[in-house]
């Protein structure tokens, strides 16, 4: 790895506006950082003296923890600012919260927010680089990057793969970011789920839409299951979780429709027995935990690129 990277973005707001080259740069750097987790001392000094604020205004455990570990492994100083402890519950606007934090001169603000466009809004008001860690139903770019990293590790390359994303597509920022990223990298993308959970005009994003998951699974290389986002009122879109599991859940019988070497992914948290059966979730083709491991490495790569760290190889 040399110092020159094909990455000139100031912020990471989403996959929609990244080029295939920029995505590949992040994935390559992520491979490099992956090794650090295997070292006895899991820390490099590349972002020493940099400050990263995790501004999480929507409940999140794993993403926040992943970003926090990523910052620590790069020797950055990480600070968490969560919804429960925040002043937003006291009526302060997002802009005020952000400009106050920005006045403390952080280098990077990682934002999780319940509404689409929140990260975009931040970039107009603060000097720090902004990483979108999930904005409403819009995007979750580091999830798509860690997913692509996982697919590439198992399949060699993304180009030409058939990837099926199943479940609550409408409410899913993971689906949107994955669609943008995978299309740019040359994969065929199918989305499948009850029609009431597929957003209008999804085909305009260059994907094939299926009302049933069986035909979508045929010859699939990658099967990505999504959770039903009951907190976004998805529950009114179908009768109940029992029927959902029976008609749309991934079980061994349905997985057999995919290629024999197809991998099964899930961004978590999983609802076992709803969108995915325990036998599949824990089965040999599940790469769910590898996704989590790669998440730290990918987030290190993102923080490194946006934080202007010194040479990653030191």
């Amino acid at each position: 790895m040399t110092g020159a990277h094909a990455f000139t973005q100031k912020h990471l707001l989403g996959m929609e506006h990244l080029s295939a080259g920029e995505i590949t740069t992040i994935l390559d750097l992520g491979e490099h950082f992956l090794q650090i987790a295997d070292r006895p001392i899991k820390k490099v000094p590349t972002l020493r003296g940099k400050t990263v604020i995790n501004l999480f205004l929507e409940p999140s455990t794993r993403t926040r923890t992943s970003f926090e570990i990523a910052a620590k492994r790069l020797s950055a100083d990480g600070v968490n600012f969560s919804a429960s402890s925040s002043s937003t519950t006291k009526g302060e606007t997002l802009i005020d919260t952000a400009t106050n934090l920005d006045a403390m001169s952080p280098d990077i603000v990682v934002l999780r927010h319940a509404q689409a466009g929140a990260a975009h809004l931040l970039t107009k008001h603060i000097k720090a680089a902004v990483v979108n860690a999930g904005d409403g139903q819009h995007e979750h770019p580091t999830q798509a990057l860690l997913d692509a990293s996982t697919m590439r590790a198992h399949k060699g390359k993304i180009e030409g793969l058939t990837v099926v994303i199943c479940g609550d597509i409408d409410h899913s920022r993971v689906a949107r970011s994955n669609i943008f990223a995978l299309r740019k990298l040359g994969a065929r993308v199918r989305v499948a789920g009850p029609r009431s959970l597929l957003p209008l005009g999804i085909e305009s994003l260059g994907v094939e839409a299926f009302d049933r998951i069986e035909p979508a699974l045929e010859d699939a290389d990658v099967v990505m299951m999504l959770r039903i986002q009951l907190e976004r009122k998805a529950g009114s879109r179908f009768p109940n979780t029992r029927e959902y599991a029976r008609v749309f859940g991934l079980n061994a019988r349905r997985l057999a429709l995919a290629k024999p070497d197809a991998i099964v992914m899930h961004p978590g948290p999983m609802n076992r027995g709803v969108e995915i059966s325990p036998e599949v979730a824990d089965g040999p083709r599940s790469v769910v935990l590898e996704q989590v491991s790669r998440g730290v490495a990918i987030r290190m790569a993102v923080l490194y690129l946006l934080g202007g760290g010194s040479d990653a190889t030191e």
Binding site: A116, G117, L200, G201
Partner: protein, 430 residues
């Protein structure tokens, strides 16, 4: 007031099917004469308007003046100043004030404040239901006596079909038009943008066009039942256009309006999460924009109305979904509609019909024509004047426009209300 002689302009008065160069003499607050070579009466102010259009004063059927209650966004003084600068000689004040205009005390306050500080005529619109709650009819008879020219729960649709039926019947008896903000709130579910390919891409929650058209379809059946005069506010989608077209073909007393923003912008404008594009009904697809343009041209849509909805940074400098819906329109409406004349979507006569003649007809207002004896409400327009929309230079108290920075062509040079100059472009009148 001095008499005013407007000399040598192109006079467009659709109500009399008149479009020719002529002088217009205003005397005693009335239009005295329209013709060529009118002799200058002693003491009259002579204004050379050669190359300009002289038209009946523009009337905005749909304005939010925010007074009483939200004067930090706009008040009657600033709102009517903006109207005058935009070429409007009259505005209709929507009743979603704080408190709402659902009783004569509020109507009287608006009428009095308009008389004291208003630059243009203000016609209040009262609520259909008390508190705009959609439950109990407001005191429409008293509202009318106090000066209301129509009723509307604008900002909300009347969801309960029985309440809407009785409102239509009762209003019909009074001769009051009922203006519906057509939105089935169960279907729209607070979605801040048009449900379609754009919301799917940018992750905003959407509301389907059917949230509007489903309510219009129901209402048209209630109009057939009751025979009341029914007007659809801010039509935004192709399906509503089709329903209104069919209703008119059935001979039902149905009219409707469209806003300049629904004529000029599609849902793509929301892609950058600019909260000045957050408006209800939302900006729709290009197919919908094509449909409302066609309908405005063929008369299915009767009127252009601004839905001027001022909001302060408190409501707008927030996340898109959090932002209050609405944008200001009084000072940009004319120039935006003149773009449709430039591109031959509308003729000058049709434009003036939609912005003056039709609103006067629908709401039974005086004005909307330059016929001798009519009120001297006149707008002088330079259809070629080039200017740039700078939000900080607008007269409205609020700045929430998505048209900031846009190169405009055409503007009001002179706005005359009852024979008095309410607005004149700088250096235009010495």
């Amino acid at each position: 007031m001095a008499d005013i002689l407007l000399q040598g302009g192109r006079v467009i008065d659709p109500a009399r099917d008149f479009d020719a160069n002529a002088d217009v003499l205003l005397q005693g607050g009335k239009v005295a004469r329209v013709g060529s070579g009118i002799a200058v009466p002693a003491g009259a102010k002579v204004i050379d308007v050669k190359g300009l259009w002289v038209v009946p004063g523009l009337i905005d059927m749909h304005t939010h003046l925010r007074e009483p209650g939200q004067e930090y966004k706009e008040n009657i003084e600033t709102g009517t100043a903006a109207a005058a600068a935009g070429g409007f000689t009259a505005v209709c004040a929507m009743p979603n004030t704080r408190p709402p205009n659902d009783n004569r005390a509020v109507t009287e306050l608006i009428v009095r404040r308009a008389r004291e500080v208003g630059a243009v005529r203000v016609y209040p619109i009262g609520c259909i239901t008390q508190g705009q709650k959609g439950e109990t009819l407001s005191e429409m008879g008293e509202l009318q006596e106090a000066g209301c020219v129509a009723v509307s729960d604008d900002g909300r649709g009347v969801m309960n079909s029985e309440v809407m039926r009785r409102a239509l019947e009762y209003a019909r008896g009074l001769g009051l038009p009922v203006i519906q903000h057509a939105e089935d709130t169960a279907l729209s579910s607070g979605g801040p943008a048009h449900e379609g390919a754009v919301t799917t891409r940018i992750g905003l929650r959407g509301q389907p066009a059917a949230a509007e058209s489903a309510m219009v379809a129901r209402d048209i059946e209630l109009v057939a039942l009751t025979g009341a005069a029914y007007h659809v506010a801010h039509v935004s989608c192709a399906e509503t256009v089709r329903l209104v077209r069919d209703a008119k073909a059935r001979g039902l007393p149905v009219t409707c309006e469209v806003t300049p923003h629904h004529l000029m912008l599609t849902d793509e404008a929301c892609a950058g999460y600019d909260t000045s594009t957050r408006v209800n009904p939302p900006l729709r697809s290009d197919r919908d924009v094509a449909a409302v343009r066609e309908a405005l041209s063929d008369g299915t849509i009767d009127a252009v109305a601004t839905d001027h909805a001022p909001h302060s940074p408190v409501e707008k400098d927030v996340e898109f979904e959090q932002a209050a819906p609405g944008l200001i329109g009084l000072e940009t409406a004319l120039a935006l509609c003149l773009e449709l004349v430039e591109t031959k979507v509308l003729s000058p006569t049709v434009l003036i019909t939609r912005m003056s003649t039709a609103p006067a007809r629908i709401l039974h207002l005086s004005g909307g024509t330059l016929a001798p004896g009519s009120p001297a409400d006149v707008t002088v327009i330079d259809p070629k004047a080039a200017w740039i929309c700078e939000p900080n230079r607008l007269r409205s108290r609020s700045r929430n426009t998505p048209f900031g920075g846009r190169s405009m062509r055409g503007r009001a040079m002179l706005t005359i209300v009852e024979g008095n100059i309410a607005f004149a472009q700088e250096k235009f009148v010495g």
